[in-house]
Symmetry: C2
Subunit: 432 residues, 2 copies
């Protein structure tokens, strides 16, 4: 962890959580045993699956969820809550349990992605923190996973930091890496999470110099012949000629950042081959999303640089997950005034698979049972994350979560990997 992490995460909280707490402390209901569930009522428009991301960040933020003097003073000055509530907050430590889908797991409508068990008081104040992190990170990972599928094994570099809030950019780099991106441009993500970073030069570097070839020679002298030269500042054909003149045929890669990338990649490949630079790779970037990536599948592209679309969730910048009270003192509860109905009671989930490993359905059932019959290819989806306030041992690393997702995507029925809009890849079946 780094200095760039907040010392306390306790005010990443909505005002109403503390006023509910104040009222509940006053009337005695604050100590009732509650279960809150975090889930998505639906996937973003036409998506086939969602990817759980952010769990690791949430567990870390939970450890820093402390009302220190700084937070208490701020709350006192703004009169958000009364003195009794401030005293309670001063001692706040989450002492409950958290279960959930591990990072890198797929989710579908109604999947119980996170289950928080504890007193009303200790669990209600975590709503915003949990949702902010999971809604953001899962949105990015869900979009990124589609792009990785579309790229079909080619290298993917996340370079969208400039199009996202500066801290969201770091989390987005993490989520994209989780989803299978190869590297990020974001240096803070490199420091904080150990994600490989990548980058060479922008058009500004070429324009800074007296001519393109001078810029290329300078870059080669500093970064070596395996670097990537950006060839589209003036004229791409002339740029490629200059690149090979400066670097020789052992040049690592060229990057094209504008224009009709398919046509340009083909022309560039022919030109490079003609110049003997058969191993020089072609990196393309510039307004790529999963559809544009897929459209380039037949072209001689070796790597994609993806910016805006991945960090903004490619049309779905949030996952729409909610955090709902489902059980009070063992009694199922649910809102029931409208179309936004929820299912009361704590739930568990398993995913059924064919013997081939292909997923068939998401089964969501009452946690108290009865447990549905479970075939040898089915698996339970929730795992313990926090016990009595402490993160469990052996939480997965980012690399392990990345591998989990890779394996999970192999289980998606082939229709579910299509980029086109449609139904979730597997249906959610609610029992009980």
């Amino acid at each position: 962890m780094t200095a760039a992490q907040p010392e306390s995460t306790a005010l990443f909280t909505d005002h109403y959580e503390l006023t509910m707490l104040a009222s509940a402390l006053r009337d005695g209901t604050a100590q009732r045993r509650c279960v809150f569930e975090l889930f998505a009522r639906r996937l973003p428009d036409g998506r086939r699956y969602g990817v759980v991301a952010g769990t690791g960040r949430l567990l870390e933020a939970l450890e820093h969820f402390r009302f220190t003097d700084a937070e208490l003073t701020a709350l006192a000055e703004s009169r958000v809550v009364d003195d009794a509530t401030l005293r309670w907050l001063a001692d706040y430590r989450f002492t409950g349990d958290v279960d959930g889908y591990p990072e890198g797991e797929l989710y579908f409508p109604g999947s119980p992605i996170l289950t928080v068990t504890g007193t009303f008081a200790e669990a209600v104040v975590l709503e915003t923190l949990a949702l902010s992190i999971l809604n953001h990170d899962s949105a990015v990972a869900s979009a990124a996973a589609r792009m990785v599928s579309a790229a079909n094994g080619r290298r993917m570099i996340e370079m969208g930091s400039r199009r996202a809030h500066e801290e969201a950019a770091v989390a987005a780099a993490r989520a994209a890496y989780l989803a299978g991106f190869t590297a990020t441009s974001n240096l803070e993500a490199g420091r904080r999470y150990g994600i490989p970073t990548a980058g060479t030069t922008a058009h500004a570097f070429v324009l800074l110099h007296d001519d393109e070839e001078a810029a290329f020679r300078s870059q080669l002298a500093a970064l070596g012949p395996q670097t990537t030269l950006l060839v589209d500042t003036f004229d791409i054909t002339a740029g490629i000629d200059a690149a090979i003149r400066a670097a020789g045929p052992e040049l690592g890669a060229i990057r094209i950042d504008s224009g009709d990338l398919g046509v340009l990649a083909r022309q560039a490949r022919e030109q490079l081959d003609r110049l003997g630079a058969r191993n020089t790779k072609i990196v393309v970037s510039g307004d790529l999303d999963e559809f544009a990536i897929a459209a380039l599948r037949a072209e001689p592209v070796d790597a994609y640089g993806v910016g805006t679309s991945v960090v903004t969730g490619s049309g779905a910048p949030t996952s729409g997950m909610v955090y709902k009270l489902v059980e009070v003192e063992g009694r199922p509860v649910a809102k029931r005034s409208s179309h936004k109905e929820s299912r009361g009671g704590r739930k568990a989930a398993l995913r059924r698979h064919k013997p081939t490993g292909t997923a068939i359905e998401e089964v969501v059932y009452p946690h108290r049972g009865p447990e549905p019959e479970r075939g040898e290819h089915d698996r339970a989806l929730q795992v313990p994350l926090v016990r009595a306030g402490q993160p469990v041992a052996d939480l997965p690393t980012l690399e392990e979560s990345r591998e989990r997702l890779r394996r999970a995507l192999v289980s998606v029925p082939w229709e579910g990997l299509k980029l086109s809009h449609g139904e979730p890849a597997v249906p959610t079946v609610f029992l009980g």
Copy 2:
């Protein structure tokens, strides 16, 4: 400022900025005097105007843009740059100038929103930081301003934190407030920026209790009769009856969070009036965007709670601004390979107005002159923000920027305030 601000902002930077720096330090071009401009090539699809937001946050982040031992060690370990570059970074202080549109100003395609003047080395490394902050904050403020126009003077509460990255949520609350929102749910935004915070209870609070009226009585005891009771957990009509039974006709407000809000608001108003609660206000929330807000204009709604749509820029989560090198040692430079052409040379801008105060056009012209003729109703748009590395005195407060936007919106031609898609409210005219 608070503990939740990073100590150093220096790694909110893309890898390629430091590799460009390394190459330029090596070949001597790093010290060339440069001008970078930050601008948007276009507004998000069909938008009529953009709102500049984030400048204040950027100036603060710039003061914390320092490569301390922690950053240098991370860069050394990951071998991003060579030792000479690390030594240069250790002494990094921005010593140049920044001019720009003040926060709360409108912008249009090509408006020179920010101009950074300095050596290549000191200016190139600010690209990602500047773009992350302005792209995010302006996206939220631009969407929020449309919602505020649509609400036509009614109270607006930003409550979207849960649908955004936890730090982005704080910045979004600030941007929404800048754009005219009345309050935010986000407690960190309250602490960090002094924005009024608001909130009372969620459905969970009602479900926690043995019945709805018990929950209402508890809330009233803790928060007083001016509170807002959430009446749609079970049945809205019964909920309103229970609310007035518990609070009496002096109840502050009710909130409806689901269903057909127009119909429900009308029914609720009639019911409240019938119960003698003529001053009890009606707050509505639930998937509101600028169009839904406008559609409720004729209904008896007193305040709107807006979540997802405002924090995600209502379909445009980033502003698409870019940071381009436009001048090197006084010589205009520009990329020219494709449709993404840029105009070289440092630019200035003024906005022409009719004698009535209505804006007519955005005039962007070469900074070196000639200055276009300027009528008494026209005004220059850039102001000094940083001089020789130091923020200028008397930077506007958030309240002043909020007032600036309020006045600027009055100058927009009436067609430009329409929510429907169309051309920018005023054309940008490029001279020279």
